[in-house]
């Protein structure tokens, strides 16, 4: 699964991961029994790749632990949605709580892992994922800042380069920040990047070598 040669775009390096492969990769790195929040968008795909019996418990910030998969036709309950307002289901052992208790859980460092999308991540682990900074954009933050600072580990899932070819791993975020120094690991289509106190380390690459990668990034990559 880690380095299958699935080209997902023209001109892309062979071996680059698609979003489902990235999600599968994240899922494999989540220890059994973890309490996890999956952010809106791509991170929700991670749920589909968690092995049965993993005992991973999903949290949704609108007030629930042990959230089940998206509701199918006939299962939809308007009182039961995830943070993206998509109807979901309840697993045995679920618990409901109000918003202050839910965010206390997040902000108090009780979630083991949170997986978020991002516009940019800096080499120091700063995260930008809530605001494009465009002057006419209406700012909307939701729970992004709370998730960013709260979980024990923050994983980001994103493509490593934007559509215009610019890297999304940057020396300094140019988009407005969500949180400072909060990201632990970045899962991208081309590499898994650990943000460490010493710097950024590419622990796995997909269809590209670390040297090739280093050439395309302004953030230096640790080599050992």
């Amino acid at each position: 699964m880690t380095a299958t040669n699935t080209a997902t775009g023209t001109g892309a390096p062979r071996g680059r991961l698609g979003k489902h492969e990235m999600a599968a990769l994240v899922a494999r790195d989540i220890p059994a029994g973890s309490f996890v929040n999956l952010g809106i968008g791509q991170p929700t795909l991670v749920a589909d790749h968690l092995p049965a019996g993993s005992g991973v418990v999903l949290h949704t910030e609108n007030g629930m632990l042990n959230m089940g998969p998206a509701a199918k036709e006939g299962e939809i309950d308007p009182d039961l949605t995830n943070a993206g307002k998509v109807p979901v289901t309840e697993l045995p052992g679920a618990a409901y709580f109000h918003h202050a208790d839910s965010f206390a859980m997040m902000r108090g460092g009780h979630l083991d892992i949170c997986v978020l999308g991002a516009f940019q991540v800096s080499g120091r682990g700063d995260l930008a994922n809530w605001h494009t900074g465009a002057p006419d954009a209406i700012p909307a933050v939701g729970g992004a800042m709370d998730l960013a600072i709260g979980a024990k580990k923050v994983f980001v899932m994103m493509t490593l380069f934007a559509k215009d070819g610019s890297p999304k791993l940057v020396p300094e975020c140019t988009y407005p920040l969500t949180g400072l120094g909060c990201v632990d690991r970045v899962y991208t289509d081309l590499a898994v990047l650990d943000i460490t106190p010493e710097g950024v380390r590419a622990t796995r690459t997909f269809g590209i070598t670390v040297d090739e990668l280093a050439e395309r990034l302004e953030v230096p990559l640790l080599t050992a």
Partner: protein, 223 residues
Amino acid sequence: MSTRFFEQADEAVAGIEDGSTVLVGGFGMAGMPVELIDALIRQGAKDLTVVSNNAGNGDTGLAALLAKGRVRKVICSFPRQADSWVFDDLYRSGRIELEVVPQGNLAERMRAAGAGIGAFFCPTGAGTLLAEGKETREIDGRTYVLEYPIKGDVALIGAHRSDRMGNLVYRRTARNFGPVMATAATTVIAQVREIVETGSLDPEAVVTPSIYVDRVVQEAQRA
């Protein structure tokens, strides 16, 4: 004082004054007190500050209140949605103020108002746009932002059941902001699906005790 029960949502929202801060429960449609919002539109109070997670969807409910020009300011975490065209238009034309607050701060600031906390140091948003101009402090090596309570004059919330004393229970994720807002407003008005006899709710499972609930009205129309 004892919770009062009303037959009509219009009676339940009587007396809301111009200039009030109104906390409005719900996350998406779950827990949204639609009938109370509709009654507030008919009631006519204006120059309102609305505190809610979102800033209205489609053309009904909160969006309809906004469309009538009754709202001076929205305090919310996520105004920008696919169907938030009413708010978008008001905001872009400078006809409404917006304070964007991280969702957890929104909840915690209302909790603080309800719990008698004067202010609190919170890690969320430190170093970001949303903390600009706010007091910060380093505590044990971490940067915190000082956040103040958000207190409502009125809270409009949706719950599942009330007993005849006004004890409330919610259902699934429709619980969301309701219990917090119920602690944070001077007058708390709940729309419920069912009113049950006192003694029929499990005292271990009451989420909002009657002390927080001023007025209750049963929904006229169930979704």
